[in-house]
C-alpha cells in the first residue's frame, strides 16, 4: 500500500500530468472503484471497495511510463482501464489510495495497412468505431464481443477477450500482431509486427491476458480480414431441452468434420427464451450456426452442416431469417445498461453470467451438475440456464446465465448471499470435471481465489511472472493473484 498520503499522491500526479488530467471528483472516484461484477452495488450506489485517490487520463506511452514510475517508487496500486466494460472485478480498486489509469483518451487509429492486412491503434480506440470504419472500407477485425459498443483495444487484449465469430477468426490471441506496453519500472517495450517468428517463446502472451497485473498496454496491431456480409448463411434447429447432450454432440460433429462456421451456438431452453421467445416454443433448446467468408465457401458450409444434422430426427429446422434477425440485436451497449439499471431497481431481479470451458467429454457434466446444484442450494432463483457459444476441435465453452430476486438483503450483502455463492458452485464443478473456470472474461478479482486450483503446478510460472515484472506489487493487485488477507 502507498507509502505517501492521498494528498501527496494527487499532488505528484498533477505534477506529472497537469490538473486537467487528474480527476478527484468524488462521484467519479466512487464509480471508478468497481465494475459490473458488483452490479447490484453499482445500481444501489453503495460502494464497498476502497475509493481510489484519483483517476488519471493519459495521452501517451511516455505519460503512462512517468505515472507508473511514480507509483512504483511510492508503492501505489494502479488499475489500468480503457472501456470500463469489465465484469469480473478486474477494475475494482482493492487497495487503499489506488490510482486508476484511464487510457480512453489514447484513441487514435495509427495506421490502416491494407496491403499487409493489419491495423495499428492506440489502447483507447473503441472497437465499435474501429470496426465500423474498417467495414466502410470492406474490412473487419473479425472481433465482435457482446461488449463491442463499450470495449476498447487495451482492455480487449488485457483480458484475452473473444468475439462471437471466434469459431472462424479465433480469440484476440489469434488476431494480435505486435504490441506496445509499459512496465511498472517505466520501461516501454515494443513487440514488432511480423506474421510469425520462432525466436524463443511468444512473449506477446505475457501482455495478452495480463489483466493489468503485469503491464499497461498502450498500442495494439491487429490482423484485418475481408468483410463480405452478403455471403453470410444462417442455419438453425430446435430440439427438446432434454436433448442438450445431443446438442453438444452436434456442435462437436461440425467441428470434427472440419467445417469452419463463424459462430456455432447451443442455447438451453431457459436461456433460449431470453432471445427467441417471439417464436420459439417453451421447453425448446436451439442450435445455430453462421457461415461467413467467400461466396463459394459459405453455401458449402451450410450444405455440409445441414446434411449432418438431417441424420438427427430430434432436430427440427427453423427459418434462417429468424436467426438472422436475432443476430442483428446481439450487442450490449450503454442504452441496455441504463435500462437494466432501472429494471433492477424496480424489480430487485438481477441477471449475471459466468463463462467456463470444457472438453467434449466433460462439458455436459459441468453444465448439468452446476445448474442442478445452483437450483438446489441458492434461494430465489428466477432463471438458470446457459449456452455454448465458442467451439473448438477439442471442446467448447459454457456461458452460464442466471437471474435471481434479491430478497431481504442489504446491497453490501448481495455478493455474499448470491453472486459469489453461484460463482463458487460453478467453479467447483468445473474444477471437479477438469475444465477451465474462465473462458473469456478474465480471472479478475472475483475468480482469482481459485487461481491455484485452475493452474495446478503451472501456477509457479504465473507467480514468477508477477514477481519478475511487478516486484513492488503495484499492478492491479488482487487480480490474477489474490490478495493475502
Amino acid at each position: 500500500m502507498a507509502i505517501i498520503s492521498r494528498e501527496q499522491i494527487v499532488e505528484g500526479l498533477v505534477g506529472i500530468l497537469g490538473s486537467e488530467q487528474v480527476i478527484t471528483d468524488e462521484q467519479v472516484l466512487k464509480e471508478s472503484s468497481l465494475d459490473r461484477y458488483r452490479k447490484y452495488e453499482q445500481v444501489c450506489e453503495v460502494y464497498t471497495q476502497p475509493i481510489p485517490a484519483a483517476v488519471v487520463y493519459v495521452k501517451s506511452a511516455e505519460e503512462v511510463s512517468e505515472v507508473l514510475k511514480f507509483a512504483d517508487d511510492n508503492e501505489i496500486n494502479v488499475v489500468p482501464r480503457t472501456g470500463q466494460s469489465a465484469i469480473e472485478g478486474g477494475l475494482e480498486t482493492a487497495l487503499k489510495d489506488s490510482v486508476v489509469i484511464d487510457g480512453s483518451t489514447m484513441n487514435k487509429v495509427i495506421k490502416v495497412d491494407e496491403y499487409n492486412m493489419q491495423v495499428t491503434c492506440q489502447c483507447g480506440v473503441p472497437l465499435q468505431e474501429l470496426d465500423d470504419m474498417l467495414r466502410e472500407r470492406g474490412y473487419t477485425t473479425g472481433h465482435s464481443p457482446q461488449s463491442k459498443p463499450l470495449a476498447q483495444m487495451g482492455g480487449l487484449v488485457a483480458t484475452r477477450s473473444i468475439g462471437q465469430f471466434s469459431t472462424l477468426y479465433g480469440g484476440i490471441e489469434d488476431m494480435i500482431v505486435g504490441m506496445e506496453a509499459v512496465f511498472p519500472n517505466g520501461k516501454i517495450c515494443r513487440i514488432k509486427n511480423v506474421p510469425r517468428r520462432a525466436a524463443g517463446p511468444d512473449i506477446r502472451h505475457i501482455i495478452c491476458g495480463n489483466e493489468g497485473a503485469l503491464c499497461y498496454i498502450t498500442e495494439v496491431t491487429l490482423k484485418l480480414f475481408k468483410w463480405q456480409p452478403d455471403n453470410n448463411r444462417y442455419i438453425g434447429y430446435m430440439l427438446d431441452d432434454e436433448h442438450m447432450k445431443l446438442g453438444f454432440d452436434c456442435l462437436r460433429e461440425v467441428m470434427v468434420e472440419g467445417y469452419k462456421p463463424s459462430f456455432a451456438r447451443l442455447y438451453d431452453a431457459a436461456d433460449a427464451q431470453q432471445h427467441f421467445s417471439a417464436w420459439l416454443p417453451e421447453g425448446k433448446a436451439i442450435l445455430i450456426w453462421m457461415a461467413e467468408g467467400p461466396a463459394n465457401i459459405t453455401p458449402a458450409i451450410e450444405a455440409g452442416i445441414k446434411e449432418m444434422m438431417s441424420k438427427h430426427p430430434e432436430l427440427e429446422e427453423v427459418d434462417p431469417k429468424l436467426i438472422e434477425k436475432w443476430y442483428g440485436g446481439l450487442n450490449w451497449g450503454p442504452e441496455q445498461i441504463a435500462e437494466e439499471k432501472e429494471e433492477i431497481k424496480a424489480t430487485q431481479n438481477i441477471g449475471i453470467t459466468t463463462e467456463v470451458s470444457g472438453s467434449w467429454d466433460n462439458i455436459y457434466d459441468i453444465y448439468k451438475t452446476a445448474c442442478d446444484r445452483i437450483m438446489e442450494e441458492v434461494p430465489d432463483m428466477t432463471l438458470m440456464g446457459g449456452h455454448s457459444s465458442h467451439s473448438y476441435i477439442n471442446g467448447t465453452n459454457m456461458y452460464f446465465v442466471y437471474y435471481y430476486n434479491i430478497v431481504d438483503c442489504a446491497p453490501e450483502e448481495e455478493i455474499n448471499k448470491y453472486h459469489d455463492r453461484i460463482n463458487e458452485i460453478i467453479c467447483e464443478q468445473v474444477i471437479k470435471y477438469g475444465g477451465s473456470i474462465v473462458h473469456h472474461h478474465g480471472l479478475g478479482k472475483a475468480r482469482a481465489k481459485y487461481v491455484t486450483e485452475e493452474y495446478g503446478s503451472s501456477y509457479y510460472m504465473l507467480k514468477t511472472l508477477k514477481q519478475a515484472f511487478d516486484p513492488n506489487g503495484i499492478m492491479n493487485m488482487g487480480t490474477l493473484i489474490p490478495l493475502r488477507k
Partner: protein, 310 residues
C-alpha cells in the same frame, strides 16, 4: 363540411392549444365552413380575457372544475351529426374526442397531424412508435379528432369571440369522492430549452464546458453533455443528455465534440435542427445531423458567439 374547435381553458397552455388549432385549420380546413368554438371554462370572463380568437363565435361550457363526464354530457347535446370536432393535443383532448364520438355513434381518431375532407374524411397519424404514418378513413359523423403533440403553431386573430351561448354543466353523479391537484414542477432549464449546446468528451476540459455554458446563454439556451463529459465531472450529472438523462426536443441543437453514441443520440433525436461540430469526419454524429462542420469546436464556437452577440 362544418367544423368546430374545442378549447380547454382549465389548462394553462390554452394559448398554445389555440395556436395549434388555428394552424391546423389554416392548413387543412380553408374550404370548410367555420362553426362555433366550444370553450370549457370556469366562467365566460375567461373567454373574453383571451384577447384572441380562432373563430367568430364561441359557446362557453361552464363548470367549477374540469369533469369529463359533465363536459361530455353538455357537449353531446350540442353535437351535430355530420360535423367535424377538433380537440387539442392534450390529455383532455384525447379523452373527450374518443368518448364524444362513442356516445354520438360517430368516429374518432387521436393524435392526428393531417386531414382531408372531400367526399370522405381521411386523416393521417403516426403509428408503430412513430416509424410509420397511417392514413385512416373516418366513416361516420360526428367526426371527432384530437391533434398530435408538437404540431405547427400560428398566431390567431386578435379580438374576442362573440359568445353566443353559455351552457352550464349539470351535476353528474360523481364517482370522485375527493380531488386535489398539484401544479407540475416546471422542468425549466435544459428540458425546455429552445437552443441546446450538447458537449461530449471532445471538449477536453472543465474550462471549455464553462465557456460553452456561457455561449449557450448568449444564444438563449442551455448546455447539456454526453456521458463521458459528465463522468469527467466537467459539469454536474443533471446536465446529462440521453436515455439515462434528459430527452430533449429543442429547435436547435449544436453538438460539440460529441461522437454520437446511440444512447446519447436518442436524447436529441427529436431536435428540429441539429448542427454537429467535430474534428473527426467519421464520427457517427456526422451522419445524423442536418448540418456538419468538420473542425475543432473552439474557434468555430468562438466565432459563432461573436456573430450572435452582434
Amino acid at each position: 363540411m362544418r367544423y368546430h374547435c374545442i378549447i380547454d381553458a382549465y389548462s394553462k397552455d390554452i394559448i398554445r392549444q389555440m395556436e395549434e388549432l388555428y394552424a391546423f385549420k389554416s392548413a387543412f380546413l380553408q374550404e370548410a365552413e367555420e362553426g362555433v368554438s366550444y370553450v370549457l371554462c370556469r366562467d365566460s370572463t375567461v373567454v373574453e380575457g383571451l384577447d384572441r380568437r380562432i373563430s367568430g363565435s364561441a359557446a362557453a361550457i361552464i363548470a367549477e372544475d374540469y369533469c369529463p363526464e359533465a363536459v361530455l354530457e353538455a357537449l353531446g347535446k350540442e353535437t351535430a351529426l355530420e360535423d367535424l370536432y377538433l380537440f387539442g393535443s392534450g390529455i383532455s383532448g384525447n379523452e373527450l374526442s374518443v368518448r364524444l364520438a362513442a356516445r354520438m355513434k360517430g368516429s374518432s381518431v387521436t393524435a392526428v397531424h393531417g386531414l382531408e375532407c372531400k367526399e370522405q374524411v381521411t386523416v393521417k397519424k403516426m403509428v408503430y412508435a412513430s416509424h410509420m404514418e397511417g392514413t385512416f378513413r373516418m366513416k361516420k359523423g360526428p367526426y371527432c379528432i384530437s391533434l398530435a403533440k408538437g404540431m405547427d403553431r400560428q398566431e390567431p386573430e386578435k379580438g374576442t369571440f362573440h359568445i353566443i351561448k353559455e351552457i352550464r354543466c349539470t351535476d353528474v353523479p360523481g364517482f370522485v369522492v375527493s380531488r386535489k391537484t398539484f401544479a407540475n414542477a416546471s422542468a425549466g432549464g435544459l428540458d425546455e430549452a429552445k437552443v441546446v449546446i450538447a458537449a461530449g468528451r471532445g471538449i477536453r476540459n472543465r474550462e471549455n464546458a464553462d465557456y460553452l455554458q456561457e455561449t449557450a446563454e448568449v444564444l438563449g439556451g442551455e448546455l447539456g453533455v454526453s456521458r463521458p463529459a459528465a463522468m469527467n465531472a466537467w459539469v454536474p450529472m443533471n446536465r446529462l443528455i440521453g436515455v439515462s438523462g434528459a430527452m430533449l426536443q429543442p429547435d436547435i441543437c449544436i453538438t460539440a465534440g460529441v461522437s454520437g453514441a446511440a444512447a446519447f443520440y436518442a436524447g436529441i433525436e427529436k431536435s428540429k435542427f441539429i448542427v454537429a461540430i467535430n474534428t473527426d469526419e467519421q464520427a457517427p454524429i456526422m451522419k445524423k445531423a442536418d448540418v456538419v462542420v468538420a473542425d475543432d469546436f473552439v474557434p468555430v464556437i468562438k466565432a459563432l458567439r461573436e456573430l450572435a452577440e452582434q
